[in-house]
Symmetry: C2
Subunit: 543 residues, 2 copies
């Protein structure tokens, strides 16, 4: 028997239509090419509808991919709705990828048009000849800011809009239709495309607006430092429309001074971004001896992308009077998975214990089921100690990658393997202890390379440390600690191991220590364990 | 093109499964027949699964209706999940209805079994012979609390569960399947059944957990004074499972003392209920000279069911240190429609203006589209002044009534007429100004009977006032004010009209005043305007 409720598909158009009806005057402030632009949900909706008409006239059909290579600004937001609401697919490209990767994904996605922020013109000039599917390049600016660029079919966003008074009658269609596409910058192999649907995007927005999700509300002014080219800025453009938060979009200026000024001048209450940006902000605050606690209105800062350093959490608390909230997710998860906020019963815990919980990845939001399993796929208890492969399932989690639908991405029960090793405690707080490929499997037990590295880094003579698992005749694998000494510091194998002996379980202690001059890193500063493992491929432990 | 996200139906089973996985130990505290019972989401899930097996053995099939006639307690919560998650339909019956209405709806719904709180045994004894579809009556208590009742096939809830160790493997099915049924106690005609689906219930739970919805979170301890037999206790049993709020279920004891003790002893942070209950609570607090501000942890009180009196809002603020939050909805809306929380820009308003906004019905949550229309169906502006028929649309709003699917409930564009007249302001705050059937249509303009009554009540000699529209040869309708004078007070027509002249628009002023000894009321104290109109049916205005 069917229920007798109205049949309303969960479409992205319902988000912006709600915004235009319920809070049309709520501001969207952005650092756009022509300067600081103040617009509103009502105006964004109208211009997005006109942009849909422009796209239709350019020949865009439902399902076609339309790309953006752009900073966070109001035009990017208009495209979020203008492209998806007409039934086309918004493909947000990460301009920080290597040029060859951008080339690969544009060709893989078969993008028809690329909308771009003017300062990405040089990158596109270089790539344009290699992008046969692209029929035109549209600079996201008024005529006055048009870049000097040698690009075929170069168009001006504002000229196109100015010539189009008609708003598009966004149609109703199946809520499972594709809405947006984002490629992961996988460390191995080619980038893989995650194809979000209208349904997954609306459901994810609900999770973002939940108190225990990102907690965004109509009372918030939210600064989106997290880029709109990366997993839809954690879904905030959609969630903002859902609840009527004022949004502040910083454009390309992510330096400490620019961010601080936006926080102050727009009276931002909620900020979202990765640790790197906040470190730049802190440096500016310290250098200028600013008083964020009194000058700013910042109440909450959501930190994702990589683990939140403890010092960051404390700086936000003490100097900003702001709650730092670690969150965790993946491109494959739209991205929201867990958010770390303390529960009332934690309030009475000693400070150190509280901190330990605050730095976990957090509790899973409804919609993201999590389990941890051992190597046989058997579920492990949620006791905060048992570490296993973290698997997730839910309506905004990937089922397969775009253009690779034949490949099996989920296990037989429909779970997606995050590639992380984690614990989950009795209150549901998840903590990532390692990447699955980095964990050391010793005699049937797992040793966290991250925990060992953190322990080793505690020694005053250690500049950097990495732990890798290497084959061992008896234990399958055992940890090798690779250390870079601080300039001029003395440290030998015995002292290092003695130091660790008092800090980690005996059977976790590395079997050996190798001292090196430097460790291999990626362009963005991430440790390359794959390269390190190659470097030590010939190393052998003795029993 | 379809998105490539996991296909996960929005089923009520996913709510309690999430609770059991993510926050199994979070408490559910209830005043059950055997006393105060402490249980948890984990235990509720296990017992609900066993109850599904019990029901299957009793012959319940997907789509069958299983009724409850019960107070808020842990067993009622188990039935919320045990009945719906196996695919059957939970029919919650309001025991405050007249016995004939209960008889009508049980027969209309063709309920197979009725689960009941022991003290409703006398009502069921009286009705049982007239309920041919009912195969058995199950008392929601342990053996020791079984009522002495002359009921055919009388069963004991705990005995049934004790005999059933097997948990039901809740199936996956279409998310649009019926999950729960609730009849409106319509003031005219027979009660009408609203049939909620799994999808509508899960989507509604998202809205409840939104900051701008009921704002319930895992950090809350929520007291559900609003009954589980009335629109699913505003969806709180589902929303609690979604976020992991501790729930406090007060059973039948809704007196001021009992409620106060629960608020205090369970450290309740969020309470939900109708104004009547809070008045009883206030009386107890005043009589006992209690100090709620220091003794309680109450932070927010959601008030619905009827308009929040200003004095209640102020009492909660001043004496409880608690935010009073008016909310509005309907059985036909699952019920959540609007919630009234001030926006940041209201903070700087003068106190009186702020109060005026605080007493509106509030902003529509995402999922409830609202419009106001004139008599021709044309939309009116959202200017806070234009009053029109309030229509709503969304995925948790009724499309037709159970067993009356042939009747047209929605207009041609799919909107449901709430029967209210309302304004909507530029920030999206909706305010009900009248019931559509009570509004006075004068010369193409509308006059709010409620506003006129409130103005008249401001006169010190007026005990009660009612305004009805009566036919007028020139203006179609004009208002007649009907007044009950306070005992011993003197007041005549001219003084009354002069008093109003300075308080309402000139063309709103009643054409005449009738003085009566008393006004007709329903059993629950509501003014019966229908009866009043009959009483003045022969009255004629002169031009």
């Amino acid at each position: 028997m069917r229920g007798l409720m109205q049949e309303q598909p969960l479409l992205i158009s319902t988000l912006i239509a709600h915004a235009a009806a319920a809070h049309p005057h709520r501001e969207i402030v952005s650092r756009s090419p022509e300067g600081l632009v103040r617009t509103s949900y009502g105006a964004i909706e109208q211009r997005a509808r006109r942009m849909s008409t422009v796209l239709a006239h350019l020949g865009i059909q439902p399902g076609d991919r339309v790309a953006t290579l752009a900073w966070n600004d109001h035009r990017h937001m208009e495209l979020y709705f203008g492209v998806s609401c007409m039934g086309a697919v918004l493909h947000t490209i990460n301009p920080r990828l290597f040029a060859e990767q951008v080339e690969y994904i544009v060709n893989h996605a078969q993008d028809q048009y690329i909308f771009f922020s003017p300062n990405f013109a040089p990158l596109l000039e270089q790539l344009a000849p290699k992008l046969p599917s692209v029929k035109g390049f549209i600079a996201m600016c008024p005529r006055a800011q048009m870049p000097e660029a040698n690009l075929p079919m170069l168009l001006c966003y504002e000229d196109l809009l100015a010539a189009e008074p008609e708003t598009h009658p966004w149609p109703h269609f199946d809520e499972n239709s594709a809405a947006a596409l984002c490629y992961t910058s996988g460390t191995t192999g080619e980038p893989k495309g995650v194809l979000y649907s209208h349904r997954s995007t609306v459901l994810h927005s609900f999770a973002a607006c939940a108190v225990d999700g990102l907690g965004v509300s109509g009372a918030d002014t939210a600064l989106l430092v997290v880029p709109m080219f990366h997993v839809n800025a954690w879904g905030m453009p959609y969630a903002g429309a859902m609840c009527g938060a004022k949004l502040v979009l910083p454009g390309p200026q992510l330096d400490g001074k620019s961010i601080y000024e936006l926080l102050r001048d727009e009276r931002v209450t909620l900020a979202l971004g990765v640790p790197t940006v906040w470190l730049m902000l802190f440096r500016h605050v310290d250098e200028q001896a600013l008083q964020p606690r009194t000058e700013l209105s910042l109440r909450r800062c959501i930190i994702g992308g990589s683990a939140t350093p403890r010092s960051m959490l404390e700086k936000f608390e003490q100097d900003f009077g702001c709650q730092a909230i670690p969150a965790w997710g993946m491109t494959e998860m739209s991205p929201l998975g867990t958010v770390c906020k303390l529960l009332p019963r934690h309030e009475s815990l000693p400070r150190e214990e509280r901190r330990r919980i605050q730095l976990k990845q957090g509790r899973g939001v409804f919609g993201v089921a999590m389990k941890i399993v051992d190597e046989d796929g058997d579920s492990l208890p949620h006791d905060g100690a048992s570490a296993g492969l973290l698997k997730v399932r839910g309506p905004w989690i990937v089922s397969s990658y775009y253009g690779r639908e034949g490949e099996q991405v989920l296990d037989a029960d429909g779970w997606f393997d995050t590639g992380d090793v984690a614990t989950i405690d009795a209150d549901g707080f998840m903590q990532i202890t390692d990447r699955a490929k980095d964990v050391i499997k010793s005699g049937g037990e797992w040793i966290s390379s991250i925990d060992l590295e953190n322990a080793a880094m505690g020694h005053p003579a250690v500049a950097e440390a990495a732990v890798i698992g290497l084959p061992h005749p008896k234990w399958q694998e055992r940890p090798l600690l690779v250390v870079v000494r601080k300039a001029g510091a003395a440290l030998d194998r015995k002292e290092m191991l003695d130091f660790l002996a008092s800090r980690v379980a005996k059977w976790w202690c590395p079997d050996d220590v190798a001292f090196v001059e430097s460790l291999p890193h990626t362009a963005t500063g991430k440790l390359q364990k794959l390269a390190l493992r190659k470097q030590f491929a010939d190393y052998r432990f003795t029993e």
